[in-house]
């Protein structure tokens, strides 16, 4: 498949025309030949709700990634960068406000109806009324279907993340299904699962949290290689075990010990993703003494983050980048000041002062137990408050905290989140504790969001990481990989550029599931 590399895409975003034709597939009707792979069983931790964009659970990536198999997006990502998907090419107006997407010919919905620009326009219009909870489309001002069948999307302001984070994330839904539906959250019509993706939902067992998807033989992009895809819900304690015992074909852990555990396993491999997950301290920079940069830096120096990471992940440490963006991901600035373990330097910065600091942490994490003695040696007493997730979120939301330990993904994709966290534009948990008043940072955040030239944007994002590294409004402890245990006979993992969607470390990119 001809693919658009990252550089080409970014050039395209800078105003050039990204004109690439996809090889058109003549879709075969009906099941005529055997599939290379009969069945793949993907074990995830929770039920993710009914797989429609309006009912899927946004509590984790398991639902939105499942949707990518049933639905399509305008653009997509492979291992190298953004690639055309439903849109074969797109142009961007000079002011960065109007995107014109030309759609692939021959795309159809699961019910056989053609997928047209009207569906795309409808999708964005409908999301304006009924938001997709995984991704905001608030930046979209209007949509128009052009005379020659292209779709024109006008934005309220230039938005550099549009092609990756919105066009590449928001599922296109069939107009003929949803237009008459006034309440998509409550809608339970049998046609609600009609998508255009390589798989169609055959069965959803809500009680077991299990999904059965069958190959869409008429898939416009190529024939699926897998006849049946299942997503099943397995308790965390048993997830690796079910793959070992052959009850699932792929699942994950965030603990590196699975690599050793499976070293001699004849049938299974381990796929290590880039370190898309981050474990960090959110710092309330408005609460003394944490309003002082030196105190935050002292904490960073006082923590032996390598040791914490090795103890917790039971594998090689990936010490946290002070600029938040993890190494091995596209937007990481490798030249930042880091804070190597140096308790003497910490004591020097504190100048003999001693403090007691409150740390909010979830009930089941061990990091605070490792941090407390390290901080104690430089004169900081850690007072750990164990809470459950929603309580942590509430405390962060109210600014009622000094330090909070948060763990999450979504930091390896488009870097606009660096702006959104501190601009208060994210609905998710961890962004709530983002408190950082820095004029230059806020200005750069706005600038990068509107800068379509990739090199110019990169320079700004790198500078933002420098500011984060100097001021430490959040102290990154370490980054975690996802360790996917899988059966290579049926699964081909792909490390998607910047993670699937907006930085999701899943290996089941649909490109590996179709003949393209």
């Amino acid at each position: 498949m001809p693919r658009l590399t990252r550089r080409q895409t970014l050039q395209g975003m800078a105003g050039a025309v990204a004109a690439l034709a996809l090889p058109r597939r003549t879709a075969a009707l009906g099941q005529e030949t055997a599939f290379p792979v009969d069945l793949v069983r993907f074990a995830w931790g929770t039920d993710v709700g009914a797989p429609t964009p309006f009912q899927v659970s946004p509590a984790g990536p398991g639902g939105p990634v499942l949707l990518t198999l049933i639905y399509d997006t305008l653009t997509w990502k492979d291992a190298e960068g953004i690639v055309p998907w439903l849109a074969t090419e797109w142009t961007i107006s000079d002011d960065g406000l109007v995107y014109t997407f030309r759609l692939v010919d021959g795309a159809t919905w699961h019910d056989g109806q053609p997928l047209t620009a009207a569906d795309v326009a409808f999708s964005f219009d409908y999301y304006a009324q009924h938001p997709y909870t995984w991704m905001s489309t608030e930046v979209v001002a209007s949509t128009t279907v052009t005379d020659d069948g292209a779709i024109r999307i006008a934005l309220k302001r230039p938005y550099a993340a549009f092609v990756e984070d919105i066009a590449g994330v928001v599922p296109i839904v069939p107009r003929h299904v949803w237009e008459p539906v006034a309440d998509p959250i409550g809608y339970d019509g049998a046609d609600r699962f009609v998508g255009s993706g390589p798989f169609a939902l055959e069965e959803y067992d809500q009680t077991a949290g299990a999904y059965r998807l069958l190959a869409n033989d008429r898939y416009w992009h190529g024939r699926p290689r897998v006849r049946e895809w299942r997503q099943i819900t397995v308790p965390a304690e048993a997830r690796i075990q079910v793959v070992q015992q052959g009850e699932a074909d792929i699942s994950y852990g965030t603990d590196a010990s699975v690599v050793d555990l499976l070293a001699g396993a004849p049938r299974l491999d381990v796929f290590e993703t880039a370190p898309h997950s981050i474990v960090r301290l959110a710092v309330n920079t408005e609460r003394p003494p944490l309003d002082r940069k030196e105190v935050r830096q002292a904490i960073a120096y006082a923590l032996d983050r390598r040791q914490i990471a090795e103890t917790i992940t039971r594998g090689p440490a990936i010490v946290g980048s002070a600029g938040v963006v993890p190494p091995e991901t596209p937007w990481h600035n490798p030249t930042l000041t880091q804070y190597d373990y140096d308790p003497d330097r910490a004591r020097e910065l504190l100048g003999g002062e001693t403090f007691t600091l409150d740390l909010i942490a979830d009930a089941n994490v061990r990091d605070p137990d490792l941090m407390a003695p390290m901080l104690e040696t430089v004169g900081i007493t850690l007072n750990v408050q164990r809470v459950d997730g929603p309580t942590r979120i509430a405390l962060l939301d109210e600014g009622d905290f000094q330090l909070a330990l948060v763990t999450h993904i979504g930091v390896g994709g488009d870097p606009d989140y660096l702006r959104r966290w501190y601009a208060g534009e994210e609905a998710n948990a961890f962004a709530k504790g983002s408190i950082f008043r820095n004029e230059e940072y806020a200005r750069l955040g706005e600038e990068q969001a509107a800068t379509l030239n990739p090199d110019a944007r990169r320079a700004i994002v790198f500078r933002m990481q420098e500011i984060l590294a100097e001021h430490l409004p959040t102290i990154t402890l370490y980054h975690r990989r996802f360790y996917w245990v899988y059966d290579p006979a049926v699964v081909t993992p792909i490390e998607t550029w910047g993670g699937l969607l907006n930085g999701v470390p899943f290996p089941n990119n649909k490109l590996a599931l179709i003949d393209a």
Binding site: P58, H130, T133, D165, A208, A238, I393
Partner: protein, 333 residues
Amino acid sequence: MLPALVRLLLRYLLLAAGVVLLNFVIPRSLPGDPLSFGAGEGTDAAVPLSRAAKDQLRAYYRLDEPLNRQLGAYLGDLSRGDLGRSIARSAPVSDLIRDRLPWTLALLLVSLLIAAVVGTAAGVVAGWLPGAGRDRLLVAIASALAAIPEFLVAIGLLLTFAVGLGWFPLFGGQTVFAGYGGDPAGVARRALDVVWHLTLPAATLVLVGTSAFVLLARDATVGLRHAPWLVVARAKGLSERGVARRHALPNIALPLLTFFGLRLGTVLGGALVVERVFGVPGLGLLGYQAIRARDYPLLQALFLLSGLGVLATNLLLEIVYLRLETRRGLLRG
């Protein structure tokens, strides 16, 4: 008896009203918010929902209304039998409960019955000759089981019999998408599959639940061992076993029934730990997830169900007592 019964029913009606109100208040008094996404287990992800979109969702679930109006809507829906829609799962609450109730009932009722029967028998055996070897052994086992946390028993069984020996499945209530078929053979296959899946969770509950029955039955038995009517029974030439079964057991039944009734009342709350470890799709697991998601409508319904379950069994016990007291009164009169 009648005026007493009416008073009793009135009291329980008031209690039920209290339960309904508390069910509304408790979820909302927890810190947190059902629309704060991302309280998952290390897989929280960026959810860049705009403020406007979040407000829209808040309005959809009527979370933007003042509490008194939310309460009014809740009571109105409840009076029509409408339990509302789960926020986290985007499905009708009544569907979620209907699908999971059979799992909880099957798992907990069976385990409770086994625990009660086995525990009572062991308790009578132990208490019949207090201080003897078998008494000391049974009391020691029961005390040890009572002291081990449920999750340790569950994980121990899981590791030994599912992970280690591979005799039982690792998770779930049945094989997903098994396609048993609707014929009698299919129904039988499904039943066997369910039994196979629920054996370890039920064994956990039996192991943990038996000890209380053992200790209770033992103490009751010890108390009546030298009762004169038992001496008479023995004098009639009954075997020890016959004495125990026909004369002792009926006399220790009341405290055991009371205890059984109290346990029965909690069945509708589910068995969180066991359901979570073994991935059994019961009400306990559903409740746990609802609490973690601050899913108000689902929490309200689950609390209501378990609250009413407790009330109903207590009411039943009280009526039984009332009858017994009335009878005794008649006898005395």
